[in-house]
């Protein structure tokens, strides 16, 4: 484990992320391109959902990354609170915009995907509603980062919010399931279920798309964290200047 703590030092992180970033970005672009193009052009229609099944190549990867981004922020917050590694706190801050965009994509593609079946552009499907709630958690997290000037205090408070928020996000997940049962028993065919119920022809491009989205997340995370570190360096220099 000792090697990971080496990255606590920003200079080391900047070096490593420096040469890692181009590679990851290209790989991400390749995977997404393969997954999406293959899925869009070369797969037949699904007998039930018609061509809307092609949305799965966007919705499933985005939904996965929306959740994984929050989990990564949770781990980064824990590392910050326990080991006081500034890089992990800044990584959590950089991950939030990517996470919120992924949630937004998951919401839009999920709603559009279900539209033909539900007949409306938005149906309070339990899974979609959970992503809507996750979206609110992201907004709160990002807003808290913006609201506090002192970087250390901001990192501490956002980490505490992330920890508490994660517990309540989980509780909301079950609450929404319970709420959806409501009076009519049994949810309609949950269009947006994870995993790949489809046959093999769809599964391969989906894996590429998922890998692509994951790599995209990592690339944007590295770039974002580097920017946060530079911004933090600027702030430190400016404070030093004011201190004279």
């Amino acid at each position: 484990m000792a090697s990971i703590w080496r990255y606590a030092n920003p200079r080391k992180f900047m070096e490593t992320s420096g040469w890692l970033l181009p590679g990851v970005s290209i790989l991400a672009a390749l995977c997404i391109a393969t997954g999406v193009i293959w899925g869009f052009f070369f797969t037949g229609e699904d007998y039930r959902q018609g061509s809307t099944v092609k949305i799965v190549f966007l919705h499933v990867p985005a939904a996965l990354m929306a959740i994984n981004a929050w989990l990564m922020m949770l781990v980064a917050s824990l590392i910050w609170l326990i080991r006081r590694h500034h890089v992990s706190a800044l990584a959590a801050k950089a991950a939030a915009p990517v996470g919120v965009t992924m949630t937004l994509i998951a919401l839009i593609t999920g709603a559009v995907w279900g539209q033909p079946m539900w007949g409306t552009w938005w149906a309070w499907d339990p899974r979609l509603t959970s992503f809507l709630i996750l979206f609110l958690f992201y907004l709160g997290y990002i807003a808290l980062w913006q609201a506090i000037e002192d970087p250390d205090t901001a990192a501490d408070l956002t980490s505490v919010l992330c920890l508490v928020g994660s517990v309540f996000a989980l509780l909301s997940r079950y609450a929404v399931n319970f709420w959806n049962q409501g009076l009519h028993q049994g949810a309609s065919l949950s269009v947006v279920d994870e995993g790949a119920p489809m046959d093999i022809a769809y599964r391969l491009p989906l894996y590429f798309a998922m890998a692509g989205f994951a790599l995209l997340f990592i690339a944007l995370l590295l770039a974002g964290t580097r920017t946060e570190i530079r911004a933090r360096r600027m702030q430190a220099l400016l404070t030093r200047e004011r201190m004279g």
């Binding site: 709630i133 609110l136 958690f137 907004l139 709160g140 807003a143 808290l144 609201a147 506090i148 205090t153 501490d156 408070l157 505490v160 919010l161 920890l163 508490v164 928020g165 309540f168 996000a169 509780l171 909301s172 079950y174 609450a175 929404v176 319970f178 709420w179 409501g182 009076l183």
Partner: protein, 218 residues
């Protein structure tokens, strides 16, 4: 710690303490909804549980950002932090004081507003039960939000953005308990889950709130 509770209750009762504000807001909301939705009895009966619960939620939220702000501005929070009682105790007492001055009155007034909103007769008992079980959680979670946004300029707005998502489980189980109660279905599950969330929040959140205050006092 009871000294702190008594002081806070006394402050809330005194002039300008803001004791009745949450209550007044709840009444106004219960009046506005039918004006917006229309007088038909059956539509009101359908949405009454939800409105009564969302109203209670918002009324709690209303009186939260002043929870620590006054003590923070006049310096007594610093003094409380150096007092013999732990900060977790201070936070719990604050949440209890908030519940007594806001959560409890809401629970007692809710049935009256239920009549306004044409709540089915079967629902009244479950309404009071679910609010009694749920409002403490609203106060404890709200206290956590207030601790996070201590000393921020536009803290009130941010407080709502941070706290409302945290209210989702309590709202869902609370409102569902009333909906099912009103429809004559079993209400054991939602009430039990509601009580579970409140117990969990009351036990664990004070540590997070105290940590947030310590960070903000730095």
């Amino acid at each position: 710690m009871t000294a702190l509770l008594i002081r806070d209750l006394r402050l809330a009762m005194r002039a300008g303490g803001g004791f009745g504000l949450g209550l007044a807001f709840y009444l106004i909301l219960a009046v506005l909804v039918p004006l917006g939705v229309g007088p038909e009895g059956d539509t009101l009966a359908l949405i009454a549980p939800g409105i009564l619960w969302v109203g209670a939620l918002l009324s709690c939220l209303l009186s939260l950002d002043r929870l620590f702000a006054l003590d923070y501005e006049d310096g007594s929070l610093d003094l409380l932090a150096t007092a013999p009682i732990p900060l977790e105790g201070v936070v719990t007492m604050k949440a209890l004081a908030h519940w007594i001055t806001t959560g409890l009155p809401l629970t007692l007034v809710a049935p009256v507003l239920g009549v306004l909103l044409n709540l089915p007769a079967a629902g009244f008992g479950w309404l009071v039960a679910s609010l009694l079980l749920g409002t403490p959680a609203l106060s404890v979670i709200g206290t956590f939000g207030a601790a996070l946004t201590l000393g921020l300029r536009r803290g009130g707005l941010l407080l709502s953005l941070l706290v409302l998502p945290l209210y989702v489980p309590t709202l869902v189980f609370g409102a569902q308990a009333v909906v099912r109660g009103a429809a004559g279905l079993g209400t054991a599950t939602p009430l039990l889950l509601l009580a579970g969330i409140t117990a969990g929040a009351a036990a664990l959140l004070p540590f997070a709130s105290a940590a947030a205050i310590r960070i903000n006092l730095r």
